[in-house]
Symmetry: C2
Subunit: 385 residues, 2 copies
């Protein structure tokens, strides 16, 4: 006997792992489809199946008896999502919304139709079309890219061959976008439930390193009140117009001339929202669960003046794999540090965890969070061991 | 391959369940010995064994390959704990400390020896000895009692027979204690690591109903600074003298004449510390894990002026078992409410969850938390369904 409806999660990465924490508190039973034995979320969710999310039978099996299915990633084929809906499982976010996070071409077309500010863009299929679009520009595969993969900055005709080849091999299109002269990158996260209730977290500043999110500051420092409101409104409008259920993350550029342009969409808890675990009344993970289960949303209000998140990335150094060694120093140095690890082995550049720090002094928060992340990464202090 | 040493937990109740949340964040692998299939913690810890904690072979099996073993309850026999230590597992808290939470006679003798203020007390074995101790008084079985069970207030000779009979049948002793004229009950919670580091949470006010904790206010309102410090010092001293590792909860009476007397000890996360999940920088559950793994402790500092915890107890009403029905109203009414449910079916008087509320206005926090708990219990509003 279960006391509450069961939620299926497709994908066993750290996002599913971090959904498990509020699911414990809310008394929500989870069932996991994991890519492999012992992956990040499979370590912490007992009711699990190991299998391939591209296989419809596997998806049907894992969602059997579940009221709702949600996702750790955007890679489940659209036709399978429709099949699950037909089988009576509530798919949240639904396939018609999710396609905008799966396909950048569809996303750009829809946002343009809605009048949401985006970088100038066009689908291109030849060197000549890219040349006509104009250099420099950014080429992206419409599907399958993440964390900087599937994205190229091209400045000349010779740069274009590889993106076209990769796209052709993958059977996807190429989207050309203007290279935006941005002041910085921002992210606006909202939660939206099927009944239409929505909650907006404050717009944050995100700092990327080699295409991977490295630091987040909440709220974005020195953001004009107009842009702060505009950022939240853009995210709320997209969530409503696209019928998103769950968390929607809208990555944006703040241009040097003070405009916001939408860069990417994600329809799941997002790296730029990890600060909410310790810095907001209700974390993005809890609000994702509440939204997909159609429970009232929790307050997205910040609990501190400043929150800082710094990712722990696998180091390229000798001490790779010795993550646990970093605990004593980082924790002893900073008893207020909040540590979040994913149960993943260190590999160069891999996201293996993050730290959150909150407080009244932004510079101090940044110093503390960066030091702790560096230490966990093995970039400090372990030479003499 | 595990990235960190594995921690075994004996007992699958809600305390083990709530340890699972910070274990996810800390990347600590857990292995659970559960009393039965699907009990509270077994719903959320994949690596588990179902078996009897009174059986040494079962204990050896579940702790095999684990660096440390800790507990959801105090009921594991002392001789088994010594056997596990001999087998090379770090038992935390250790048997020599834990006996003071298992046996109230041993606890009283030791605290008296240390000069820690306690109610006047004596081991009694006959009606005549209770009469000599004096009426009214409290009789307690030295072992096996909890949540008001194994405790009797006796006012006359005729009341004494039952406690003596229960104790004899259980093969335990009876402790007589003066009936303390108390203003209120308080609780002091500290965490202590094997290396001796300790952290004290602020002393809280606890309100019991029928021997069961119902409400906690942190910090205790109108507590004199002297008693607040004294309460923390008593708990720190006991933890140090007894060599406690992990969380120690010291339940105390504040007498009408302004003294603190120690009532009970618990060496595990405690109901009177649940407010720390949302009201402190580091929860008691996380600090219990850090302590038993000998990691540096996190800050026990409060994050709000006031935190209130109210237990959700199984109702005696018709709607028992419909806990999930309470979610929408309680969450919609109060987006700042923090809900913690244990995955337990409603039974009259059973602890099935709690709510935490924090804020600047104590009366408002109490009203919000009580309303939410009443609603979850089905004591409000569901009649018209």
């Amino acid at each position: 006997m279960t006391l509450a409806p069961t939620l299926a999660i497709i994908g066993g990465g750290q996002l599913a792992r971090m959904m498990a924490q509020p699911a414990i508190a809310l008394g929500l039973p989870l069932r996991l489809l994991a890519e492999g034995e012992g992956v990040s979320a499979a370590q912490v969710i007992p009711d699990q199946l190991v299998g391939d999310y591209r296989d419809l039978d596997t998806l049907k099996k894992v969602t059997e008896g579940c009221a709702v299915v949600t996702f750790d990633h955007e890679h489940v084929p659209t036709e399978h999502l429709h099949a699950l809906e037909a089988a009576g499982v509530a798919v949240r976010p639904g396939p018609d919304a999710l396609v905008h996070a799966q396909d950048k071409g569809v996303m750009r077309a829809r946002l343009t139709e809605l009048g949401i500010p985006c970088p100038r863009n066009a689908i291109v299929s030849s060197v000549a079309e890219v040349e006509a679009f104009g250099f420099p520009c950014v080429l992206k595969t419409t599907r399958g890219g993440y964390d900087g993969k599937g994205v190229w900055v091209v400045r000349d005709v010779v740069d274009v061959a590889e993106p076209l080849r990769v796209a052709e091999e993958a059977g996807v299109q190429v989207l050309a976008e203007e290279l935006v002269d941005f002041r910085r990158e921002l992210s606006a996260i909202v939660a939206r439930s099927p009944s239409g209730q929505a909650a907006a977290y404050p717009v944050v500043h995100t700092y990327q390193e080699n295409g991977v999110c490295k630091e987040v500051i909440a709220p974005a420092p020195d953001l004009s009140p107009e842009l702060a409101v505009q950022g939240e409104q853009i995210a709320l409008r997209i969530a409503g117009e696209l019928g998103v259920v769950g968390i929607l993350a809208v990555e944006m550029f703040e241009t040097v001339d003070g405009r916001l342009l939408v860069n990417e969409l994600a329809m799941r808890p997002h790296n730029t929202g990890h600060w909410t675990q310790d810095g907001a009344v209700t974390s993005q993970f809890e609000n994702h669960l509440r939204a997909v289960m159609d429970l009232p949303l929790g307050s997205p209000a910040p609990r501190a003046k400043w929150s800082v998140m710094v990712n722990i990335l696998g180091s390229t150094r000798e001490n790779v794999g010795r993550l646990y060694d970093g605990y004593p120093h980082a924790m002893a140095r900073d008893p207020h540090l909040r540590v979040h690890l994913y149960g993943k082995e260190m590999r160069p550049g891999r996201k293996v965890g993050h730290v959150n720090v909150y407080g009244d002094d932004l510079e101090e928060c940044l110093e503390r969070a960066r030091h702790a992340a560096d230490w966990f990464q093995g970039d400090l202090g372990n030479d003499s061991d």
